[in-house]
Symmetry: C2
Subunit: 334 residues, 2 copies
Amino acid sequence: MPPMFESPLFWPAHIKEDVLYVLDETLVPAKLKYIPVKNVKGAVVVIRNMKTRAFGQFLVVLNTFILELMPDTKSGVILSQQAKDYNLVKHLKRVAQELNNSRPTFPFAEVTGIITGVAQKALGNGADVRVAVTKTVHGFLAGIRARRLQRVQEIAEEIKDQDSILTHCNVSGELAMAAHLVAQQGKYAKFFATETRPYMQGAKLTVWELQQAKAPVTLVADNAVASLMADRLVNKVIIGSDRFAANGDIANKIGSYQIAVLAREFGIPLIVLTQPSRGVASAKDMPIEMRDADELLIFRGKRIFGPKAKGFYPGFDVVPHQLITKAIAINAGL
Amino acid sequence: MPPMFESPLFWPAHIKEDVLYVLDETLVPAKLKYIPVKNVKGAVVVIRNMKTRAFGQFLVVLNTFILELMPDTKSGVILSQQAKDYNLVKHLKRVAQELNNSRPTFPFAEVTGIITGVAQKALGNGADVRVAVTKTVHGFLAGIRARRLQRVQEIAEEIKDQDSILTHCNVSGELAMAAHLVAQQGKYAKFFATETRPYMQGAKLTVWELQQAKAPVTLVADNAVASLMADRLVNKVIIGSDRFAANGDIANKIGSYQIAVLAREFGIPLIVLTQPSRGVASAKDMPIEMRDADELLIFRGKRIFGPKAKGFYPGFDVVPHQLITKAIAINAGL
């Protein structure tokens, strides 16, 4: 049974003609506005400013190669196809570099390396680089979409009748779509969403998305997790992950670690949605990005605390695999 | 060595002539504004709206009896002193009742019961009720002040050179004053303050207060506690408590419980500032107040989440005594 409801967060970036439209998730739920991105510079800006997050950033990275395949008409010199392809591969490698440098915690290099590898190989084989890259990117996108839709069903299977599920941050559509599917299957489940300070992804995205899916949802302060669990108001935790290591460790939105510790304390299973772990043995190999303290100190454009205030804001924390009950992986087929 | 620095939060309510001035802690640090309270009705409003918190509410409760001792000039009938005192005791009992009903988690009845007891006893003995109550309240206030100043010194003794201390919510001046004292004693200590959503007492009060005390302080999201501890960035936790039970359990600002669980997980001592436990055997005897969800959903007068959003906001949670390393009690001498 395919999901009948698709959240805008499930697929937050798409190309139309020669522009990539990226959902500005920082404005949701007040507005559904898409940011037009025309090249790698624009892509780096939306990634670095967290206009879109984990999966959206992955979509931006992949689609940026399509944007950057646009013919180079700047040079007045007429080049052979081979010379053009040679320049194009060089160009795509620079694009990859810029994307890789945009955020330290994300394994963009794994993705961009595959694309530049395809381009390099096409060049070596005398194939058309543009065609090879386009085909690869489109293939990836179609595969990921199919696998994510499948995972929505796997999440729905994990959700039993009368479950009360705590989630943190936002898992980009999948949980809301699973919630919708669960209701269609005749099961009653309710949800608690943490606010997820400082960005409030839980309050802004998850609550909205679950409401769109007509699922019962209650917002709680990040501070209320132990209280919820001690009072037996939740019996399952489902969160996403930004990185997954071969040993099962994850990195996810700051606050995930403490929720995991508390889940174990109260004997509540923790289910994690993961991606491929390619090349990362354990959490030790995941650099944790420190975000600008202003993201903590400024709310809706206004400085909410004194000008002398210092803030400490790691974007992510690490959940050791020992605390994870079950991982629902997505094999992106890359 | 007495503290050289006194935080406005240390003594946030005082009577001047026939008005009680209560620091509006919801405006700190932007403004230091005192709300004039003239009678028990006004007192209940500042308590219920959390204009002042734990200790400030206690000050309001005690001082309200002084406000309500003002001569009853409403009745045109000239009464004997005994009849006046009889009416006054009846009146003070009504005042006590209104204060007791203002917030369920606080043990106001313990305090108000003592005051009405003193009034009743004075009436029985033919003593002047007004004098007896005034003397009792003033005696309490002086005793509490002396004991709190002493506790500031005890907290300072707990803080060692190079300590890095996490705190949650706000402990009404004592921690900031201890921090100032610690520096005077030539010890270097730094502080991390949680934001303490949804009221942000940590971000608004604690950061400001520690800055006033010239102590190094960094704000962290409530979500960052496990990360701070895992990275060994804090080696001690000091929090206050709103209630203390005979078995050592405390009730404190929502979020305290999870910090306590995390402190044990990472082997970090948890020091708690407590009050007398009078009449409360364990946390089970402490009703936990559910605050209006709008306090979570509205920020600075604006609804920040969708109108359909539901919120869950217990004002407090309970920390079982097993998780508490040390309690620094205040014996209020009541």
